[in-house]
Each structure stands twice: as C-alpha cells, then as structure tokens.
Symmetry: C2
Subunit: 440 residues, 2 copies
Amino acid sequence: MNSDVLRDAVAAKAAAGLLSSLDSRTKDDALERMASALEGATDRLYATNQKDVDAARALLSAGRLKESAYARLSLNSETIRQMARSIRAVRTLGDPVGRVLLRTELDDNLELKKVTCPFGVLAAIVEARPDAVVQLAALALKSGNALMIKAGAEISHTSGVIVRILQDALTRDETIPREALTNVCGREAVMHLLKLAEFVDLVIPRGSAELIRVVRENTRIPVLGHADGVCHIYVHSAADIKMAINVILDSKTQAPSTCNAVETVLVDRALAGGFLPLLTHALRERGVQLRGCETAVSICGQDIGRVEATEWHTEYGALTLAIRVIDGCKEAVAHINQFGSHHTDCIITEDAVQAERFSRAVDSAGVFQNVSTRFSDGYRYGLGAEVGISTGKLHARGPVGLDGLVTYKYILSGSGQCVSQYIGQNARRFKHEGQSLDYV
Amino acid sequence: MNSDVLRDAVAAKAAAGLLSSLDSRTKDDALERMASALEGATDRLYATNQKDVDAARALLSAGRLKESAYARLSLNSETIRQMARSIRAVRTLGDPVGRVLLRTELDDNLELKKVTCPFGVLAAIVEARPDAVVQLAALALKSGNALMIKAGAEISHTSGVIVRILQDALTRDETIPREALTNVCGREAVMHLLKLAEFVDLVIPRGSAELIRVVRENTRIPVLGHADGVCHIYVHSAADIKMAINVILDSKTQAPSTCNAVETVLVDRALAGGFLPLLTHALRERGVQLRGCETAVSICGQDIGRVEATEWHTEYGALTLAIRVIDGCKEAVAHINQFGSHHTDCIITEDAVQAERFSRAVDSAGVFQNVSTRFSDGYRYGLGAEVGISTGKLHARGPVGLDGLVTYKYILSGSGQCVSQYIGQNARRFKHEGQSLDYV
C-alpha cells in the first residue's frame, strides 16, 4: 500500500470540509489568481513541458504514441492562454453550491430546504492533456470539492508543475488549503486511491472505454462514467426528406470521431425506396462508407456493403455509417434500446404524436427530434463547462456540467419542534406548503 | 445459472418500455384496481398467509425468529385494509414522470428540456413484510418502472399470492403488461439477478446493514442504499437549554430503534457544568442509559458510564445515549464527520451564524437546527411515500420518495438544425434562454 496516497486522501478530506464553506467571491477570486498564475508562468511551464515532449517524441518515433495524442500534450503560448481562458470561463458560471432545489414549510417556524452542496473529494483520472488538468481543477474549486488528479503518465512533469502553480495561486488566500488540489502519480497510487472509499466521494475517469472499465471493476466508490456513443437517427415515414439528409450529413461528417456522431440510420420501409438513393448519394459525396441490412443493399446495390449481424453495436468513430430498413416507430425504438449505448438518438418526423411516443420510449440520455445528434454537448446545451457525458442513469445523465459535481443535503430549521407533538390525539398537523414542479 | 430469472428479467425490460409511456390516468386507475383487488381477496390472502404464519410460529418457538418479525408477517383484516390504503396514498401523489427540471431555448425553434423518466427495471430485496411488497409495487407502477421483487423467505407464500393478485388487477387494462411486476423466489435467483446489469437498472435493498453489504459486494448495478443511523445533536453554547432538553428527549426516546434517533449528544464545554446534570436527570427519568467522555463522567458522576474509544461509531438503536463535552462548533463538526453515518445531525443554538456554519460544514443528508432528528423522514418532509433513507451521495440522499425512482433525459426539439451552422465565420449564436435557480 502507498502511504503517501492515504495521507494525501486524509488531507484532501479535511480540505473538503473547508472548501464546502467558501463563499462564491472567495472561489471566483481564486480562479482569477489561477488563470493569472498560468499566464505569468509561461516560461516555467514551457521548460517543464519540454521534458514530457522530448520523451513523447521518442514514443512517437517508436510508434507507441499517436500523432494526435502527441499534439495535445505539447504546450505553447497559445495553449497556455487558452487554459487561462478556460479557467475564467468557469469563473463566470453561477455558483453550483447553495442552490435551493425544494423549499417546504412543514409547519409554522419549521422550514425544510433541499440545498446543493459539494460531494467532498473528487478523484479524477484523465488523459495526457494539460488542459484537462486545468479544466478539472477549475471545476472542482468552483463546485467546492477537493480534487485529487492523476493525468496520463506522458505528461507527469507538466501536470506536476501545473498543480504546483495552481496550489500556490490558491493558497495566496489563507482560507483555501493547499490540499484543495493534489497531484497523484503512478498507476499503483491510483489503484490504492480507488480503495479509499472513506475519503474519496466520487471518481471521474476520462479517457478510453478500457480505462473506465478498469476503474469500475476496481472501486466501490461511485463513478461518474463517460460514454460510448452508438447514436441513431430514425427517419420516420412522415419525415421532411431534405431535412433528414441535412441532419444525417451533419451528424455523421461534422466530427466523425466524437461520441455524439451518428453510427446507424434507421429508415421506414414506406420511404426507403425513394429516400435511400438520395441519402447514399449525398453521403458518398462526403466520403462516407456505407453498410446496410439486406433491404438497404437491395435498394442501393453495390454502393453499400452488407452489415454483419453483430455489427449494429459498433461505434465506428469514423466516416462509416450503417443503414437499416425497418417497419415503423416501435421497431425503431426496439433496435435503439437493444443496440444503442443510451447516449443520443433522434427521430426525423413532422408528426408530433410519433415524436412524443419516440421520446417517451427511447431509453437514452438524449432524445432528439429534427436536429443533429452533434448538439448533445454541455456547451451547446448551455451548461457552461462540461465534465463529460454520462450514459449512466444515476445522478447525472447526458452532458454533465458543474451541476454533476454537487449533490444536495436537506436543511431543516425549527424552533424546538418534537415529533411527539405530531403524533396521537390532538396532534399538530403538517402544512407541507411548497412549490410544485412543472410538467411536460 | 437460473434461466427463469434471465427470462423474467428480459420480460421485465420489455415491460419497462411500455410502462414508461403510460399516462398518469392509466397508472392511477391501475393503482385503484390494485387496492380494490387486495380488499376483495381478504379470504384468499388470509388462507395463504396462514402457511407462512404456521412455519414462522415454529421458527419463533425454536428461537430462530424475533417476536417483532413474527408480528409483521401475519395478515389480518386490518393489515389488509392498511395495504389498500397505502396504495391509494401513492395514487394521490403527483406523477413523478414527465416533470420538466430545466427548459432552455437554445435558439429559435430549438428547445431543450430536461425531463424526468423512469429508470426501467427495479430489483427490490425486502424483509419478510407483506406491506413492503405492496408499497414497492405501488411506488414502482406510479414511477413507471417494472419491478422484480424478492421478499424475505418467511413470507414466500404470501408474497407469491400478493404478486398474483396485483398482476391480475394490473392487466385488466391491456396496455399494462403482466411483467410490470415479477415475484422472485430464492437466494440463488437474487444472486443471479444482481449480475444482470443489462436488464436491471437499479437495485433497492431494504433490511439489515448486512443485507445491503452483501448486495453491494455482489453487483455492478447501481444500488439505492439505505441507512445506518448514527445521528448527533450538538448543544452549542448559545443554545436555549430547555429546548435542547426537549429536543434530545424526543430524538432519543420517541422511537429509539429507528435510524433517525439520536445516538450521541455533543455539548459545548462553556455550558456543560450547568446543562449536563439537568439533561442526564431528564433522560434517566425516561429510562435512558448514559455513556460519556471523561469530562462528562467527571461532571455527572456515577449516573453515567465511561465511553470506550471505539464506541463513538455505535448505533445503539435502544435507550442508550453517548455524551461528549467538546470545544466549539469546529470540534463538533469534526466529530460528526468522523464518527457519524452522514444521516441526520442537529445543532441547538440561537446563533444564526453558527447554525449556518454548521449546516455548510456537516457532511450529512440532513442538517437540522433546533428540531428533533426524528423529523428526518419522507412523510414528515412531505414527500408522500418513502422508499427508504439514503446515506449515499449519488442520485438520492436522505429520505427517498417517488422522485428517487426516476432519472431524467434531455429532450431536444428542433427544425433541422445542424451543428455546422454554429461553427466558423458567420456562425449562428446560441441564445441559451432559460430559467435560473434560486439560492439559499
């Protein structure tokens, strides 16, 4: 066991107690100091980052690192400015702590409030991206949580110096403890941290599906899991054909490697004969490879390959699209719930009743009508910063913003009330006066 | 492996798809049929229940069943009427499905709604209490979830017949599938069910801490966990002494075996000398055994036993109370966060600033001021029915009502928008017009 990690987790838990009580102004001032400190430390950051870049270049030459990963770990004056901007963007968001979710007057002078509060200690495991370290540090502070962060080994020097710079900036206000932010190094330390359920309240893995699987299998701490994306567009018989083609093109080609890109298009048999040739022509013009069910192949001929039976689960993450001809909304829903990843699924239709039925029955974090699946994103939803996209159903679902980093507590303020007063003959009766919520 | 359980889980998942689309009226009509059916089947219920009662009487005689457990598994005409009343009480609650939690206009004709929806399939593991089976069946239907329920083996005949009666009542409306409700029998079947993460969305164990531990260790499905209760009352130096004594008496003696009864009282040193003799006198008059720290013992003398160092974690669940003299709010918070169970903790004070500090810093589902800890309860909070009390931080915390049985999805309705329109030169800009939330 790694005694440093235990000691750090105990210290982070103690820090969390202090962080939960910080007012918005104190946190926002600290965020501004964090941004300025990064801008003021450009030379130091650049020099330290060179050690990681040099090592990464060797990995790149040896074919053990992708070009895209290499590009993301290198800092320059623009990426450093961008990190400072991302902190200031978090600063401008509303404070997620202290929001009243429900307020009920139980009786005279007896008021119940359900109020948002921090989780406590977050453990984040992120890719080899300096900007991810900075963004999570900003989100954690804004949400009043202590953060223990492990970045990809390829940026160990860079993440170490970033954390030290941010710690120094934070603690210039004495009410903020240095342990608000801790750098965790090494796989062994992370595996130990995942066992410390007494001190760590939430684990946030960001990265490959494999990373998330390993984390889930090695911890009893709640995991805010991020997404596979097998997204669908269902072209209903009452679709606007031109809209359907536009939306599918955007959903597939605008950024094909993202988790909210579409992977499978379902088409009602009633319009398949006329629609599919138009669709496949437009897709092939954009370089999309097509795969289809038997009916789609028979309509489109050699333009389209035959889908394997096991293929409907596939997240291509590339300019490849699967097409299936089906019989109506019920079959579309069944396909999506069976083969999808509960991320984002869309119906194209002018029929409001069908759209409503689809939105009720599809078991996904995002259910769309007549709009590109690529809108499934924290920024586009107006959540401000995004922690990730959750396909789990507990706590946070879909794009997770600052709200995903807080939980709530019930605060009851009375004037000496006892339960015995509310029981038996002549008992007081509860008033339970509060607000009610809006329906769809 | 138990193939019946797999088949039942697949069928429950299919039923969940239908249940999620039921309107409120259909669900409420079904609940009324469920209540009437139980009332109309009194003789059948009574006769079947006798088999369980006879077997339980033998266990009771052999000392293998508690008197209280025996009492709870026997049905009579009043308990059957009470079960029907509990279903009708759920019927009168608002529909938890389809509530709009957030509504944002992203752009013209592009509206985002965050809307509550059912989890899908719930697996409940409950004690040998017929009323618990009935209550969960009602809550599951109201929240649009399919329910697979395993009751304590001591009521296997009774739970079987209850489920059949409720299934018959449900399916008199053809839109409701029989698999909305499934009786699960036997420990082996439950252990198998806990592995079926693809079909079961949420596990709800109700019963002993041991049961909940076993469930957590044997599943990757999210668990809505219920509570240990090590609750505290902190008597601050600015407390109203009379109020403090009243509230402590109610919190300890009104129902000492419940999880929201107080177990430890923390007293500021400044008032300990005058306050403790009054408090211990009042408690001893009600038959409460006292345990204390060294200072408390030195003040109260032989009226009070010495607490062991490891004892502060203890949930007595009986007329026993621990008392500790401390130095101020910070020490009280540290004690509570270290030794408590994050259930419900209270400060007695007339000082609003201290109360606010306490409510921010205590890491519990319920943080109270000047009111008995026994108010920590779904009925008293005005939530209607209660599924249980959660000390976890994810999803539902504190008393969990119908709202704990729903999650949410994002529904985005557009008119053909593509993300490419919002990127680059001359890009459209998001409006993000919505509501903001209230602060404390």
